[in-house]
Symmetry: D3
Subunit: 124 residues, 6 copies
């Protein structure tokens, strides 16, 4: 694994700030749309985070998977629920997702050990 | 669009039967795992179909999208909920998903017009 | 090929209108960002359309390829330039892009035969 | 399915000729490398066609899959062997490959019915 | 490169055990199907490992590539054969696979230096 | 980030030399086509590097992104131009490209700090 959740969170925050500070208005708007896509509406924030997690798994993006695991945990997703999402991703995306599943599992363990207030990541 | 929901359903059923009849035990088992991944458990069948839909959208597979739209409609997913799933897929997967979104929207329209008992597709 | 440029344009316009009329504000904003990404700025509209074309080719989306070929032609891209973009896409994306390249070539032929004012597509 | 094997073969040949006639030397060289990659060497032509088939399946390109099924059949690949390649692709690439698998199966049926000399496709 | 073959093997084994111990029956079955897909049948184990390798290369998964290189080496794949698989993957998947090819080559070197009994990896 | 630009450059050069020295003629030819695809012709080298960058971003290959950022900087691409390419990639490829965008931004910073003659990378 490439760094702790805390290191990853800091890197993400620092780089996002730089990208947003660079002043491209359209990129700023995209980041805003990205944040708002996961806010509760017709579907709850929890369900939307599950959607973000399964999409990240089948597209095989470790940083995105980590982000959504942390957010899912904050929304109260249980281990049993996590494993059913992992299974859907595994069936849809195939064995090529397994290395990401191993890292996802490790992130989940790391996440469960963190005191609640520390788990909050900046936006993906 | 390449055929009605009904034509697509019949093609899928006919070919799935042939594939399963060909006698490769491991393929039969995979198809079984695929069916069971969407059965209600820790997460409801409805949420799992939403997961299947968003995964199909970001992986850009029209037939898979159609299948999960029909199943989501059967599980009572509302238009507002569909659009929030479409939005998550659009943000995660980008504008490259838009042609699939157009076809998804057309399938949803077709699906809403069908009498309930006819919408049932065989397994994806 | 699945329909003429004109049929494709009409389908795209009709479905985009329906999607935008459905009233999901975030999807509307995404479509707006998509339109604006190709407007001239630090880079010209022509270069941005070339970027859109190569991205569509390596991601293998026929409708997106068609859209950007039409727009590139409107921006005055020559056959020699088109072929160099096709070559970059072929080298980066591999032989898996060749079926899309065949259809791209056919669309380019179709596009060259159209009177200028008819080639305008609605937004992708 | 979008046309018979024979129609597909003619379309491929006609468009490949046009692309090669357009005179971009690097594209011509790429097409040449593509042809030669499947010639027997340290590995037999049969094994290389199996490699081309599994790669086309997991990358989900119907035209490429069709091409390699025809070539595999010409190299004497049996139904049992085809199904084991399909199974590897299904496990590696997941259920998202299933719609392609259905069309692959249909192409294989079509291919088995053709008299041997007619099955020959031009290069992918 | 992110760790030696031995470290990678231990990480894989440790995490796979945890995932299987978590008790989701469908994930356990998927892992079982994954293992069995590469067992000799109509096609030999060697050919199936070559299929796994080319699929992993075009899908660009370093851990999967490493796993199949080790298994191919165990099945007696020669350097000349490896390079022909690499070439098929390069032509099909394009230059985007080159960074993975560099790491594949390094893993192959590492693999050739290992005493035979140490090269055995747990299942991918 | 996994190593400095200089370390990455040396690794790439060393491994490319080994791959080319291994004597597979077709791989050598592919590497040659890869180099030549970015040489100025009907389109300038600068525009072709922009094409290579956007293709690498939407296909999400960090090493390829890094390579093309360095080459774009050598061709005089400005920060404003870089950001418009990043925006096209973000819109086309979606939020799944954001982790790569963060690393791209960091590479751009690193690149801007390097004295001109040191930024030259061997071929991708």
């Amino acid at each position: 694994m490439s760094g702790s959740l805390e290191e990853l969170r800091k890197y993400r925050e620092r780089m996002n700030e730089k990208i947003l500070a660079a002043g491209n208005l359209q990129i700023q708007r995209f980041f805003n749309l990205d944040t708002r896509a996961y806010e509760g509406g017709a579907l709850s924030a929890k369900i939307k985070e599950l959607l973000g997690l399964v999409a990240s798994l089948v597209l095989r993006c470790d940083d995105c998977i980590t982000y959504h695991i942390v957010r899912c945990a904050e929304e109260g997703v249980t281990d049993g629920e996590f494993f059913e999402v992992f299974n859907v991703a595994l069936v849809v995306g195939g064995s090529i997702t397994i290395p990401h599943l191993r890292r996802a599992f490790e992130r989940l363990e790391e996440c469960r050990k963190l005191p609640k207030p520390n788990t909050k990541l900046g936006k993906d």
